[in-house]
């Protein structure tokens, strides 16, 4: 990038920028005779919380199944460019295409990749319905890569089987999805963030939300609710120190994980963190999946391969970690041995898709794939079932443990589900929900609960000189790095757990000056809940599993006898504390011999 203007912003000194007096008017609840934090009541049949990949698909499928029902998509940002695929996607990772692989094969591969911990029926659903999703996306105008004979040009990235299907023109995927939502006349409310799930007699009956621009509060009653708010991408602190320099879209702060937990839903295997090998500092994917079919590979400092399989399993992450700690680091994505036309082709895909700003990142450092490797590092931790296997516990219909509450996409625990899994889970949830709502009426909202929630949302506004959200968030996420980044040590995690619990008191010190800052303050609540869950679950599972994701130094081996099970986190309302327990895995649909088939990816 040629432009190097140092653009500086002087906060609250520059009179052109709204100053503190405006913020104080928010605080007093009055500006231009408009009452802030007005309560807006709505009632719909099916509410989709989060208008990303899963949410857009869910809304369309719900409307198609039941055109007379009212369907609402509630979105914190704007559905045109929101969620994990805001800027498109360069391929799908879990495409089960007839003639290339079968759903059963896919389930076996994920069973092995996830060290046996899964509900095979939910993963099977992704395998069964993924092809229909791909066909439907094609009808909507999404282009998948085909070979000269017009067949899907699948690539092998997994250990066994071809499931990666490139989408070199996937940059407008999100625009295409939002167009479908509008075409189906689905109501959309942008810039409203859900803050809690309302329940009545153990059933989900609605949500509360905050308009992040006006400060108004939404109370939305719905017969069924789908949470699909994405990953907890702002859990660990990136090594750069920039709070929003995350791999996941930083809008995804674990909102759904926290809201489901606070409503009493079960979450499973939270100790199975998301950790990715990413472009150092930039924190975006190096995209070995894109580049490796062209001959690129992940190499150590000597330029040699050290992994045989680029698929992002916990085992692969452990191999990267070992290499970085062996004196053979840093590791890099190696393309400089390829010819000019191949590198240009890779660049065309990478600079156009998913994280297009990587082009200017490299340019700013004078790096060029023709001569330089892409330096990589291991990311900070997050929670994301789309990549690993931690999330809200769901069955094959994406039902949570709370009637009327569904979860889909990155936050629903269907291991390694990725984008196709998000589409499938959104669809499955919507179709089940539209049957469920036939037999239920709207619940009754308890006004005391609404008032308490209003107080909770607004609290930082009453304290405009309190500690800014940036500092409160920074310190919390630094603790996450200090005490939870694998490999995991028991005493570290205990200190971490204590700090995360104590951090509830720090939250009382938060200060905010406008609705936007209120949003960020609420997100810290979500992040704190996720941090506590991550510490609690990691301490509980006294074995190592999923490679680096849950590598405990005090229990370095896998212990199938005791731990071939789910760990379940649930809120105990009586004691107002977090509980954790074991739960048996659902019986497998397909037998897999996990001792014979290990996900070993190191180069022998």
């Amino acid at each position: 990038m040629g432009i190097k203007i140092l653009n500086t912003l002087i906060v609250s000194v520059n009179t052109k920028i709204p100053d503190i007096s405006v913020h104080l008017e928010y605080n007093m609840g009055n500006k231009n005779n408009k009452n802030f934090m007005e309560i807006i009541n709505l009632e719909v049949d099916f509410l989709v919380v989060g208008g990303g990949t899963a949410g857009c698909m869910a809304a369309v499928k719900a409307k198609q199944k039941s055109p007379e029902s009212s369907v609402l998509v509630l979105e914190k940002a704007n559905i045109r460019r929101s969620g994990a695929i805001a800027m498109g996607m360069d391929g799908v990772n879990t495409a089960v295409i007839p003639g290339n692989s079968t759903p059963e094969q896919y389930v076996r591969e994920i069973t092995i990749a996830n060290d046996g911990i899964l509900d095979q029926s939910a993963v099977h659903t992704t395998g069964l319905l993924g092809f229909e999703v791909i066909q439907e996306l094609e009808e909507w105008g999404v282009k998948f890569q085909k070979d000269n004979e017009g067949k899907y040009d699948l690539k092998q990235v997994h250990r066994v089987g071809k499931y990666v299907l490139p989408m070199p023109e996937g940059k407008d995927l999100k625009k295409i999805l939002s167009r479908q939502v509008k075409r189906n006349k689905i109501k959309i409310i942008n810039r409203v963030m859900a803050t809690s799930v309302l329940t009545q007699n153990g059933r989900a009956i609605g949500i509360t939300g905050l308009d992040v621009r006006s400060g108004d509060m939404y109370v939305i009653k719905s017969k069924a609710i789908l949470l699909c708010t994405g990953a907890c991408g702002r859990l660990g602190l990136p090594a750069s120190g920039y709070l929003y320099g995350t791999y996941e879209n930083p809008t995804n702060a674990g909102d759904g994980y926290s809201m489901a937990y606070q409503a009493g839903a079960k979450l499973s295997n939270i100790e199975c963190f998301q950790i990715n090998p990413l472009i150092k500092d930039y924190n975006g994917p190096a995209c070995a999946y894109v580049a490796s079919p062209f001959g690129a590979y992940t190499a150590n400092a000597s330029g040699n391969r050290f992994i045989s399989c680029d698929y992002w399993s916990g085992q692969m992450m452990l191999e990267v970690w070992r290499e970085l700690n062996s004196g053979q680091g840093p590791v890099h994505l190696k393309m400089y041995h390829l010819d000019e036309s191949t590198i240009s082709e890779i660049e065309r895909i990478l600079f156009d898709n998913e994280r297009p700003s990587r082009e200017r990142f490299h340019a700013g450092r004078g790096e060029n794939y023709r001569k330089d490797g892409v330096e990589m590092n291991i990311s900070e931790i997050g929670l994301c079932s789309g990549h690993s296997a931690s999330g809200v516990q769901v069955d094959e219909h994406m039902r949570t443990s709370i009637p009327g509450l569904y979860a889909a996409g990155d936050m629903a625990n269907v291991p390694h589900n990725y984008m196709i899994g998000a589409f499938v889970s959104g669809r499955v949830a919507a179709e089940h929900a539209m049957s469920y709502i036939q037999d239920v009426d709207h619940g009754q909202v308890d006004l005391d609960i609404i008032n308490t929630e209003k107080e909770r949302i607004l609290a930082p506004l009453k304290n405009p000189n309190g500690i800014p959200h940036t500092q409160v968030e920074y310190k919390l996420r630094r603790y996450v790095n200090d005490y939870l980044q694998p490999p995991k040590s028991p005493k570290n995690m205990m200190i971490g757990l204590e700090k995360f619990i104590d951090y509830q008191n720090v939250m009382d010190e938060l200060g905010a000056r406008d609705p936007h800052e209120l949003m960020r303050c609420m997100e810290i609540n979500f992040i704190r809940d996720c941090a506590e869950m991550a510490a609690k679950a990691s301490l509980y599972r006294t074995e190592s599993r999923w490679g680096l994701y849950h590598y405990r130094l005090d229990f370095p081996n896998r212990n199938d006898e005791e731990w071939m099970c789910n760990t379940i986190i649930k809120k105990c309302f009586e004691k107002n504390e977090m509980t954790i327990s074991k739960e048996e895995l659902k019986p497998y649909l397909f037998d897999v011999n996990l001792n014979a088939e290990k996900y070993d990816v190191s180069v022998a």
Binding site: N7, I17, Y244, N249, S357
Partner: protein, 75 residues
């Protein structure tokens, strides 16, 4: 509590000579809602330093007024 003001090098740069007063394309499309209009000039500016350098603001600006640079801490 005492608060201070810090100068910050922000990622989103708006060319005020090009920015259209009536247009909100960049503001509407930002996933993190970090852009706003300066009420006095009607020009967009980066109000909150919370950027994912994802580029919709730059790509959807009809007059090419926006340049997104990689945040200083990363570049």
């Amino acid at each position: 509590m005492a608060l201070t003001t810090n100068r910050v090098d922000v990622p989103v740069i708006v060319d005020e000579n090009k920015c259209l007063e009536k247009c909100k394309a960049c503001i509407e499309v930002c996933p993190l809602d970090v852009l706003a209009k300066n009420p006095e000039t009607g020009k967009a500016y980066m109000k909150y330093d919370e950027c994912w350098f994802c580029l919709p603001c730059e790509k959807e600006c009809p007059v090419g007024a926006i340049t997104v640079q990689i945040p200083f801490l990363l570049r």
